[in-house]
């Protein structure tokens, strides 16, 4: 009985993580449902932020994104530290693949920002490759200025929109 329940929760959590784009719905969504919990028998609920093998853990505890300076695609020291954490996690959780999404703030023309977002995503990818992640596990895409997460028109928002987000996929290779 207990095993069946655990398996159900695991599947539910994976379904959530597979379908959720954190940029669209906010990472908070991961805390609903099966997340956040010391649950069964005082253990860790699989898929919750306390489960080190979960997407939620990757997003929140490791950090799924790195930020960039205006019109730059060079990784900051903070960004490199985050990517070191991502690399360690990906080296442990080898079932996962990832798409790295590059984004720009709204200050810029559409095509240029697409290319700039690609530079940012690629900078993150190159760094992860240098930390031993297989190239076949990491794809990149740029959304340019098409998918802002913050919508005000000042630097407070722009700083959060200039980002490369590592979006996990897979994790259930049987």
């Amino acid at each position: 009985m207990n095993r069946i329940l655990t398996a159900t929760l695991l599947i539910a959590a994976l379904a959530v993580s597979a379908c959720t784009n954190p940029d669209r719905f906010g990472a908070d969504g991961m805390n609903n449902g099966a997340a956040n919990g010391a649950g069964l028998n005082g253990g860790i609920v699989p898929g919750s932020v306390n489960d080190p093998a979960s997407t939620a853990y990757f997003q929140q505890a490791i950090g799924d994104r790195v930020l960039f300076l205006i019109d730059q695609s060079t990784l900051t020291p903070e960004g490199q530290a985050t990517l070191d954490g991502q690399a360690a996690w990906l080296n442990t959780n080898t079932d996962y693949q990832a798409v790295i999404e590059g984004h720009a703030d709204e200050q810029g023309t559409r095509e240029y920002n697409l290319a700039l977002g690609a530079r940012r995503a690629n900078a993150a990818r190159e760094y992860l490759l240098s930390r031993g992640i297989a190239a076949s596990r990491l794809r990149v895409v740029s959304y340019g200025k098409e998918r802002p997460i913050e919508i005000c028109s000042n630097e407070a928002c722009y700083a959060k929109n200039r980002r490369a987000v590592t979006v996990l996929a897979g994790g259930l290779t049987s």
Binding site: V99, E106, T109, Y112, L114, L116, N122, A123, R139
Partner: protein, 440 residues
Amino acid sequence: MIVRILSICLALIGGVASVAQAQDGPLRIEITEGVIEPLPFAVPSFQPESGDAGQMAVDLARVVSEDLVGSGLFREVPASAYISTVSDFNAPIQYADWKAINAQALITGAVSVSGNTLNVKFRLYDVFSGAELGSGLQFAGTVDGWRRMAHKVADAVYSRITGEGGYFDSRVVYVSETGPKDDRAKRLAVMDYDGANVRYLTDSSSIVLAPRFSPSGDRILYTSYESGFPRIYVLDIGSVQRRVLESAEGTMSFAPRFSPSGNTVVYSLTQGGNTDIFTMDIGTGQSTRLTNTPAIETAPSYSPDGSRIVFESDRSGSQQLYVMPASGGEATRISFGEGRYGTPVWSPRGDLVAFTKQNKGRFHIGVMRLDGSEERLLTASFLDEGPTWAPNGRVIMFARETQGAGGASSLYSVDISGRNLKPVRTQEGGSDPSWSPLQK
């Protein structure tokens, strides 16, 4: 004080008008001279020559007037000022009656409906010369396409008086936008140049960007995230059938534009974070690299003769405009002003390039000659971008996005003189306009 300013203004208008009236030659607007006072015209309701053409006769004259007034070069003398009416398309014109109300041009028309066929005739008169300007013309079309008949009349009038090609019988493909900034839905739409007859070409399930008309106006190129990654599609407007232009796994392709022949696409391809310019033969799918630098090179646009390409590159350290041969090779930088320059578009006349400029936190639409001289900024706002040329190279349409959390994008047009800035009517928000050639 107020009285004095008013009298100065009146004197100015009077002066310009009298200069125009003193002209001996034929009715003429020299656009390059900088038109300050629009030319007054009268367009009485057309004559219905079949029983069921009454409403059409009124609507045609109205759209002709809207086109001409909308160009900023003409002013309509209202019907309430008319001394005489036109009750017969073939009757002699009472020039004195139109001269008395200062209608320098008079447009008359007649319309008949037969089944789904519409016949429209018109004549243009130079009132102060007391003569017809050009000869009468007749257009046939469908009843559904009646607005096109009006646009054709307006194009002929515009063309005869300015000596330039018209632009009213044209369409615009653009990205229709709904929803907030952080969850915006985009779909392709095509409409008449004045916002009428909107038709949606895609749904909003994937991001779509920057549609571009083919030189014959029957197809469009655009970028879609349908596959999860930006890819270029070619879409037939009539059938709405589309197909992807294949590019290698792990790449992104975007910013497509047709060559003047319509057989080749020039576009940007991103591989390993680096964006260069390529061409692809639409028929064979074979691609050719044109640039090869670590810089961002994008937004390519052909010269009207197909021999050269203007594009943007940040190879100097910031976004600037360059011109290179259509086969690639050495590029010459043409933008040297303050700030950054992007999205260059070669004018259909070949004489100018329109661009987006960013400087000191503001965006501008501007034009410059191909050697970079005579730069002229036409607009300024929080965010203007993506110019496209009217078929006659005299008007530019672009997108303007407003600032802040409630920011939204909409279409505007402006003369290349910088005058007549005005919104283009769309039902929803709009961005990335592309103006078609004049319809055949």
